[in-house]
């Protein structure tokens, strides 16, 4: 499946600023020390809308996954499958994600992953997760 062109939305721009520098930036509730996804608008524990941006380590682990298959083209060629997933950041929040450089056989709950950033010619950078060993 083709990766679409990504544009800023004015609300999550710091995430893309971080991505441009290959850093994963997420939201942080200072009063609860709760780490949240980059698009979180408020803290579900204390309700504050005063969330700060904070660097995340980029370390993550696989929660669950799916492999999607596009429809064959008119000439019969089949697009390569896409490995899509829910991943858990080391800081706690889960993100919907696309995996890169994985084999079906290695997919398992808890598989260590790390965020990497792709910088396409057109549009904003996007984040992928790759298997990671120390």
């Amino acid at each position: 499946m083709d990766i679409g062109v990504l544009r800023r939305d004015g609300r999550t721009d710091p995430f893309f600023d971080g991505a441009a520098a290959d850093r994963l930036v997420i939201k942080h509730c200072a009063s609860c020390d709760h780490r949240l996804t980059p698009d979180a608008g408020d803290c579900p524990d204390c309700g504050t809308t005063e969330l700060a941006w904070a660097d995340a380590s980029g370390a993550a682990s696989l929660v669950t996954w799916t492999v999607t298959h596009g429809r064959p083209a008119a000439d019969g060629t089949v697009p390569p499958p896409a490995f899509l997933a829910l991943v858990e950041l080391a800081e706690g929040p889960w993100l919907h994600a696309r995996l890169d450089g994985v084999e079906r056989a290695e997919l398992r709950e808890g598989l260590p992953l790390r965020a990497v950033f792709a910088h396409p010619d057109e549009g904003e950078p996007y984040m992928l997760f790759r298997p990671w060993t120390e």
Binding site: D39, W65, H69
Partner: protein
């Protein structure tokens, strides 16, 4: 018994590849059919609840289209796939309180267009996506299929559930559909057919996914007392419930493994005074085979993690110990959101199932499921008055 409520009428338009009628027109047709089924003139209805659907579903202007006057209840409701149960419960409470006396609840949708694939009907596609929220879609998570696949895969990884066990649900459901003249898919399938059907989003095959259908279905809710004097046998409402677990997606979450059926089922069964072992027929929301599997667990028909083995035991099909989705469900009959299980429950409770009538219809459980396992509703219905 004075406060009992019942479903007194059922109206179903043609379902499936039905073109040329707008959702509003289909909805109006279904309400008229349901009123006629009950033996009521449309003017005798004093309440109308319209299910909010996806794009193009009718709103409360449907009352004008039907020429309804002096209504005492008119509203649109939305709990996604849990809406049918929520509508019926609201109608029953309105009747019980005296706020209204005969309430139509209707769902209509017409996502299918001529010369367009079923997949395109609900598919999101765009070239550009916006913000962090758009990144998920930009990267390829664009279809509900993918999100249910994530949930099903998690269950597989946690409990050893297999694709063949999901396939057993598809096969049993199709076996019921072969006996339903209204079903869109009536050719029997085998487990091998299921396994050979194309991947939609692993671990879901095409035959793990529901159909797409045009049409409308309506029911009439009134008091049990009044229903006794109407045209068709009353389908008594014994209990109802909802469950919206609001699971967070963060460390420790049980997302994908458990649903609102836990709370919804417990509430409805307690109100009805029954336990899972009393239920004789299940009509479960089956947008995917996995939804059936996880609902069976969460209702307590088997232990958590054993839904796959339970389905593979043959319990769900004709002759099984828990006849489930006896009309062919959304997988094989027609996809009318929560009206698919509800309409079949009415048919079974009335004993109108013909070739597919379950051997005992004493206690019928109906489920609704919305979002990605986010919202749940349950109804318990019976041919018998509650407590009789």
């Amino acid at each position: 018994m004075g406060d009992g409520t019942a479903i007194a009428g059922l109206g179903m338009t043609e379902l499936g590849k039905v073109y040329g009628r707008s959702p509003r027109r289909l909805a109006a047709d279904a309400v008229r059919l349901a009123a006629a089924d009950a033996g009521l003139a449309p003017g005798e209805l004093d309440g109308l609840i319209v299910s909010h659907g996806l794009g193009g579903s009718p709103g409360i202007e449907l009352a004008d289209a039907l020429g309804m006057r002096d209504l005492r209840l008119l509203t649109q409701m939305n709990s996604f796939g849990a809406t049918a149960g929520a509508m019926v419960a609201h109608a029953a409470m309105s009747v019980r309180s005296g706020a209204a006396s005969a309430v139509a609840c209707v769902f209509a949708d017409a996502p299918l267009k001529p010369k367009q694939s079923s997949g395109a009907a609900y598919h999101r596609d765009a070239r550009e996506w916006y913000g962090f929220g758009g990144m998920t879609a930009a990267l390829g998570l664009r279809s509900v299929n993918s999100f249910y696949a994530l949930a099903a895969q998690r269950h597989m990884a946690r409990y050893g559930t297999t694709s063949e066990q999901l396939g057993a649900i598809a096969v049993a459901t199709r076996e019921w559909a072969t006996r339903n003249p209204l079903a869109q898919m009536r050719d029997p399938i085998t487990l091998e057919d299921h396994q050979n059907s194309r991947w939609v989003a692993e671990p879901l095959h095409l035959l793990d996914c529901c159909l797409v259908s045009n049409g409308a279905i309506a029911v009439i809710v009134t008091s049990a007392e009044r229903a006794r004097d109407l045209a068709r046998p009353p389908v008594h409402l014994w209990g109802w419930g909802q469950g919206h677990p609001g699971l967070r997606k963060e460390r420790g979450s049980e997302w994908g493994l458990t649903t609102g059926a836990v709370a919804s089922g417990a509430t409805a069964m307690k109100m009805a005074g029954v336990t899972p072992s009393d239920v004789t027929v299940c009509e479960l929301y089956d947008c995917y085979t996995y939804t059936v599997l996880v609902s069976l667990e969460d209702y307590g028909f088997c232990a958590k993690g054993e839904g796959g083995a339970f389905a593979a035991s043959g319990a769900l099909g004709p002759g099984g110990s828990l006849p489930t989705n006896t009309g062919g469900g959304q997988l094989s009959a027609y996809y009318m959101w929560g009206m698919t299980p509800l309409s079949e429950a009415v048919i079974q409770a009335r004993g109108d199932g013909g070739e597919r009538q379950a051997p005992s219809n004493d206690v019928v459980l109906v489920s609704g499921n919305g979002g990605i396992l986010d919202h749940h509703s349950t109804l318990i219905v019976s041919p018998h008055p509650k407590g009789a």
